[in-house]
């Protein structure tokens, strides 16, 4: 019987000859990831279990990116736990302020996660790496502790939902709009426990940045992982970055899918997810007159150089409206440097933006752009739950970098077409 790419990767990380959806398996992990929020608990659990040495010093990766540069004493203490552990264990990859980027932008960029890998991360957006043709999924701190100790993790093999995207994309429609549209169609638990495999002629033309954005947000539909079968775009991205060998997998023609979702994308316009669920989506032209106080462009979802180029293209020669706070956060130091060289940072500064060093900061209401009571933000991030970016009576509207940039100029939710017409 044919197998999906997800099933093949999982099988090849066990001693089993065959696996099928629903089976509980113990699998070897290629990379185990933690951040400054989740790793402290994992490290404590690792020690409580009598952990002495991690299973592999180059495959346990710590990325203090959420509350860094440290926003207060408590967050500084948490980062110190990571730093001390990294030194003690001689970890090869523990990133310090100055080299740290947002984990899910940083690891692919640095060639630390690769096609065919099985990656777990104590961060729900670990599913991002499925864009490379890896099996990657978010877990909790105790799972991370177990993997640091044993190099293994337990999984229930997911059934796969095949998402086939036909047609051609309208101008300004990006991977962010596609994934918001899909979440809007199937709901925040529409893919619960499942693998989402993206395919079709639209996917074949999507660049890696868009694929990373889409895989990043499958958790917002409840999925276990999102995955793209690797192609030439994948190979081009990985070559020159990879720090070790990788393996390309595909899905068999007779692979068995739990369900198939066929979508013609031709009619889709840029999408907005209204408060307070990522599934609460509508087209930007149907947004109505919603005044905003803040715009955030960045995050593991949309903080890559391609995202900043789109935003800068719209902001060039324009300014954020009075009383709209525009915050731009390149996701990694390399993205920051590229943006600087390409003149994007100057465009952002001219537009009145605050440009920050890489951090998750505002996405989770941590720091660097927390909202007051009653305030509204348009954000390229991934969640708009109650209180996500600050006060419980604040609101987050999720959108693409193009919509975020246009909205900053117009002080209301609007797409680039509305900006050009204004």
């Amino acid at each position: 019987m044919g197998m999906t790419i997800t099933e093949k990767i999982l099988r090849d990380h066990t001693d089993l000859k065959e696996i099928h959806p629903g089976m509980l398996i113990n699998a070897k992990v290629d990379v185990a990831l933690g951040n400054d929020i989740t790793a402290p608990i994992a490290i404590e659990e690792f020690r409580k279990a009598g952990g002495d040495r991690v299973f592999d010093t180059s495959r346990v990766i710590l990325v203090p990116d959420h509350f860094t540069p440290n926003k207060d004493i408590d967050s500084a203490m948490q980062c110190k736990v990571l730093r001390d552990f990294a030194r003690e264990q001689d970890l090869k990859h523990c990133f310090e302020v100055g080299t740290v980027g947002i984990e899910h932008a940083l690891l692919p960029e640095q060639g630390l996660v690769l096609p065919g890998d099985l990656v777990i991360g104590a961060d729900s957006h670990t599913c991002t790496y499925g864009a490379l043709g890896a099996f990657a999924t978010g877990v909790g701190s105790t799972d991370l502790a177990a993997a640091m100790l044993t190099g293994e993790a337990w999984f229930k093999v997911p059934e796969t939902m095949k998402v086939v995207l036909h047609g051609s994309l309208k101008r300004w429609v990006s991977g962010k709009d596609l994934i918001l549209y899909i979440i809007g169609r199937i709901g925040v638990d529409g893919a619960r426990y499942k693998a989402m495999e993206f395919t079709g002629e639209v996917v074949a033309r999507l660049g890696m940045a868009d694929r990373l954005t889409m895989a990043n947000m499958v958790i917002e539909a409840g999925a276990k992982n999102g995955i793209f079968v690797p192609d030439e775009i994948t190979k081009t991205y990985v070559q020159g970055r990879a720090t070790r060998n990788w393996q390309l997998y595909d899905s068999d023609p007779d692979a068995v899918y739990g369900s198939t979702l066929e979508i013609d994308v031709s009619g889709i316009e840029p999408q907005i997810a209204f408060p307070h669920l990522p599934s609460n989506t509508r087209g930007v032209s149907e947004a109505g007159d919603i005044r905003i106080d803040q715009v955030v462009i960045g995050s593991c979802t949309n903080g890559r150089i391609e995202d900043l180029r789109i935003a800068a293209g719209i902001l060039k020669g324009r300014k954020a409206a009075p009383y709209v706070r525009l915050i731009v956060i390149p996701a990694t130091p390399q993205v920051y440097r590229m943006a600087l060289r390409e003149g994007l940072i100057e465009i952002f500064l001219d537009a009145g933006a605050a440009v920050s060093t890489p951090t998750c900061g505002p996405c989770l209401g941590g720091h660097m752009g927390v909202l007051a009571k009653g305030e509204r933000a348009v954000s390229t991030t991934n969640r708009n739950f109650v209180g996500r970016m600050g006060h419980k009576e604040s609101e987050v509207y999720l959108a693409s970098p193009a919509v975020a940039a246009a909205s900053a100029v117009l002080a209301r939710i609007a797409g680039p077409d509305a900006l050009e017409a204004s």
Partner: protein, 165 residues
């Protein structure tokens, strides 16, 4: 594994930011986290509940982030167990890994009111609403592997026991 307590009801898609807001994640101390449990939905929640009370929720409880602080906060607040129509997957594995008992019941949410007392019997797989003359409602059986985790006291103890043998 039996739990008897008062019911606190929540709806569908209760996310981890609602269970424990990210602004509180500068600590992993259970007592500190417990003080903020559910505060953005109900600022009085931790003052109202009693030790051993039970959360009954709708679909997709615990969606959102991977933060294990969520089940930690619920457990440390004194909640004995959570019965939901369904759970988000990371929350589900976190709960078993760290030892918060959780159960799936398709029917309980629609039958029970907040403040009623229920008895959840994890062994027989039933929930009884105290004082109601309805027969016990079915809860989904816990897969044997998860039962093993609960029996051993969580994933790390389970692994430690396995490594010893």
């Amino acid at each position: 594994m039996k739990f008897r307590g008062n019911v606190w009801k929540f709806g569908d898609n209760i996310d981890t930011d609602a269970i424990i807001p990210a602004r509180c994640l500068t600590t992993s101390d259970p007592e500190a986290l417990a003080c903020h449990c559910m505060e953005d939905i109900d600022s009085e929640f931790t003052n109202k509940i009693g030790r051993g009370d039970i959360i009954v929720a709708g679909e997709n409880f615990g969606c959102g982030s991977s933060r294990e602080h969520a089940p930690i906060a619920i457990k440390a607040a004194g909640i004995a167990c959570v019965v939901a129509k369904s759970f988000a997957r990371i929350f589900y594995r976190n709960a078993f890994n760290m030892g918060l008992p959780i159960f799936e019941s398709a029917d309980l949410w629609d039958r029970v009111s907040e403040g009623q007392q229920i008895e959840v019997d994890g062994d027989s797989g039933g929930v009884v609403i105290i004082g109601a003359d309805t027969p016990p409602l079915v809860i989904e059986p816990i897969p044997p592997f998860m039962q093993g985790l609960l029996r051993d006291g969580g994933l790390m103890r389970h692994i430690a026991l396995k490594r010893r043998t």
